[in-house]
């Protein structure tokens, strides 16, 4: 009984704070726009009893989803989001793996400090940090000033308001989510495994590819999902650092909602985004599960 209560609490919490709002979003996505408050119709009127429910259900349709399918703007936004999320996940991995590796190889008394440094950026507002990147990447920004002053470039580079700036922003923001799981899998690695690999004829380099990397795979996968999933729906970074050509679904969603005030279409966009995300989330869960089994 106590066990049941213990499990029930988080489930009820999730039900109230996740499932119920999501169902409301689904419901709105099936509605039509209206010049009203709230700006959609129909609304469920329980005072009219069963007839009211019937009338309400009759008012729902898949029109918005059909619209999304017909307008290629949305498909291109989804695809471009997937592409940007995938590329930036890969870049984050390229940057994060060596950092995690260096941390795991560092003397033990250094590790808590290094770990603290990795999560230190979280102590400042995410928005402020993205704004400061605008200052760095702008045409007149610090980066261009630095590069020009040491004579590497003659003309300032246009980085801000391009996809490059978006990649930089995503890599910067989500780097700790990549480093931490990889670090934790590398830190657990038994040093005698590498000695064994060397003893059996591996060079240092091949020992890394044959032993270290496969054994940190779970960390790499976990880190990649932790970056990919939020990056796919990212809104702040593309809208602040990206340009008019940066097409990301998070931005489209925001515009539908606030600029067009088309809640039903915006909800439909959100529902499809969630369906897209369910695939990587399920894969992520299965990886975690497999990892636990392997350790058990």
């Amino acid at each position: 009984m106590r066990r049941l209560t213990l499990i029930a609490v988080p489930y009820l919490w999730l039900l109230a704070l996740f499932l119920v709002p999501f169902l409301i979003v689904v419901k709105i996505s099936l509605s039509d726009t209206a010049l009203a408050i709230p700006p959609y119709t129909p609304e469920l009127d329980l005072r009219e009893g069963w007839a009211g429910v019937k009338e309400f259900l009759a008012g729902l349709d898949f029109e918005n989803f059909e619209f999304l399918a017909s307008d290629d703007l949305y498909w291109r936004a989804y695809l471009s989001s997937l592409q940007i999320a995938a590329i930036s996940t890969f870049l984050t991995l390229l940057v994060g793996y060596p950092i995690a590796y260096g941390m795991a190889k560092a003397p033990e008394h250094w590790r808590p400090t290094l770990l603290l440094l990795v999560i230190l950026p979280f102590w400042t507002s995410f928005l402020i940090r993205v704004y400061s990147w605008m200052g760095i990447l702008a045409t007149e920004g610090y980066l261009n000033q630095l590069l020009i002053s040491i004579g590497i470039i003659g003309e300032p580079l246009t980085i801000l308001n391009t996809n490059v700036a978006v990649y930089i922003g995503i890599v910067y923001t989500y780097l700790p989510f990549m480093i931490l799981p990889i670090y934790s899998s590398l830190e657990r690695l038994d040093g005698s495994l590498l000695e064994a690999a060397e003893d059996l004829g591996c060079s240092r380099f091949s020992a890394f590819w044959l032993v270290t990397f496969p054994l940190s795979k779970a960390g790499v996968i976990a880190g990649s999902f932790l970056v990919f999933i939020p990056a796919l729906g990212e809104f702040v970074i593309p809208s602040l650092l990206g340009g008019s050509k940066t097409l990301m679904i998070g931005k489209v969603l925001w515009e539908e909602f606030f600029n067009n005030r088309d809640w039903p279409v915006a909800s439909a966009v959100a529902v499809i985004l969630l369906l897209l995300l369910i695939v990587p989330i399920i894969l992520f869960q299965r990886n975690e599960q497999k990892q636990r089994e392997a350790e058990g």
Partner: protein
């Protein structure tokens, strides 16, 4: 009869497989290995035995190539191995933790070293099958290490390190993680495999019983030095120092003053006690301090004074340690010295002629004790 005893270390014409020549290893200020020179011969099962921190693991890691000697040279088959990295040495190691690759199956673990040599596939498969058969692991080839028991993992580690047919196999506390019963069986299995493959084994252990069981020679180490290296029987029966006598097995150490008498020495060890006689061909100065090391099982305990033994002392039973097959009696002499005597319990316990607080006689022959210099 007629079968030649395996003892290459007694044959001056035999060339050793491994030669340590004035090897010293320091870690900063700490001297782990102190100027050691010794040989290990082909097909030997050589045990490095000592308490933790005595330098035995450092010795092994230098052979494997994970540490380089600070001074001196190590020769393997006459060749200095200092410049050869671990992955190029014809030496393989079985790690204390086994260090099995958790992401690879048993089969792939054993094949790991062979694949690095770039052997053809069929040859690798044949060799792996051979190793699986040798270690009786055929049924587990597809399993991952975490799906195997401790004993099976130990055998996988052995199979993997033997797969490349090394000239020398190093075993770092190979049986440390196994329970007592399994350890005993595995000791014999290890000896069997060593004999079958003809590989030279060097084993590091802190378990003297294990070293005595498996090894052809045991090197007792302390503080970075080999105190004595000899066959298990000679180490036990003829320890060269009080340290070795004390470290290996149970022993009574009696300190006294030596005076030459007959074919040995008389040792006066206490006021009012007759001197003890021990045969010895050692040359000791008259009146110098000497130690007698007597194994408890060589001390006979009786209620009547034994007439046939040259060394007889009387005391009171202080304690009895009953081990089932054996009993050890702790007997206190009038001067306070405690002598242990061990007898086999060939009769029922109820028939035991003496018990706590009984006055008893202890006696031993003049060859039972080993005379050691102070």
């Amino acid at each position: 009869m007629g079968e030649k005893v395996f003892a290459p270390w007694t044959d001056p014409n035999e060339t050793p497989l491994i030669q340590f020549k004035n090897v010293t290893k320091r870690f900063g200020e700490f001297t782990a290995i102190d100027n050691q020179t010794f040989d290990i011969y082909e097909r030997e099962f050589f045990a490095l035995l000592g308490p933790s921190g005595c330098g035995k693991t450092t010795m092994m890691r230098m052979l494997a190539g994970f540490e380089a000697p600070s001074e001196g040279t190590i020769l393997l088959g006459g060749q200095d191995i200092a410049p050869i990295p671990p992955n190029k040495r014809a030496v393989n190691m079985m790690f204390q933790s086994y260090a099995l690759f958790p992401h690879l199956s048993i089969w792939e673990n054993i094949a790991f070293g062979l694949k690095r040599d770039g052997l053809p596939k069929e040859q690798i498969a044949a060799r792996v099958e051979e190793m699986l058969k040798l270690t009786r692991l055929e049924k587990f080839a597809r399993r991952k290490p975490h799906q195997c028991s401790g004993g099976q993992r130990q055998r996988v580690a052995l199979a993997r390190s033997l797969a490349k047919a090394p000239k020398l196999l190093l075993l770092d506390e190979p049986l440390g993680a196994l329970d007592a019963k399994l350890r005993q069986d595995t000791q014999f299995e290890l000896m069997d495999i060593q004999e079958k493959t003809g590989t030279t084994f060097v084993i590091v252990t802190h378990d003297q019983e294990e070293a005595m069981t498996v090894a052809s020679r045991v090197a007792v180490m302390d503080h970075g030095k080999i105190i004595q290296a000899d066959t298990p029987a000679r180490i036990y029966e003829m320890p060269g120092s009080v340290y070795v006598a004390d470290f290996i097995g149970d022993v009574n150490i009696i300190e006294g003053r030596a005076t030459p008498a007959g074919d040995g020495y008389d040792i006066a060890f206490a006021e009012g006690e007759p001197a003890l006689h021990a045969k010895s061909d050692k040359k000791l100065q008259a009146g110098s301090t000497a130690y007698l090391a007597i194994r408890p099982e060589k001390v006979r305990i009786s209620t009547e004074r034994p007439d046939d033994l040259p060394n007889v002392v009387r005391g009171k039973i202080l304690d009895i340690a009953y081990l089932g097959n054996l009993s050890t009696y702790h007997v206190r002499l009038p001067n306070g010295q405690i002598i242990k005597s061990q007898t086999a319990n060939t009769r029922r316990l109820s028939n035991r002629p003496f018990t706590w607080e009984d006055e008893v006689w202890l006696g031993w022959t003049d060859t039972a004790a080993v005379l050691l210099e102070g």
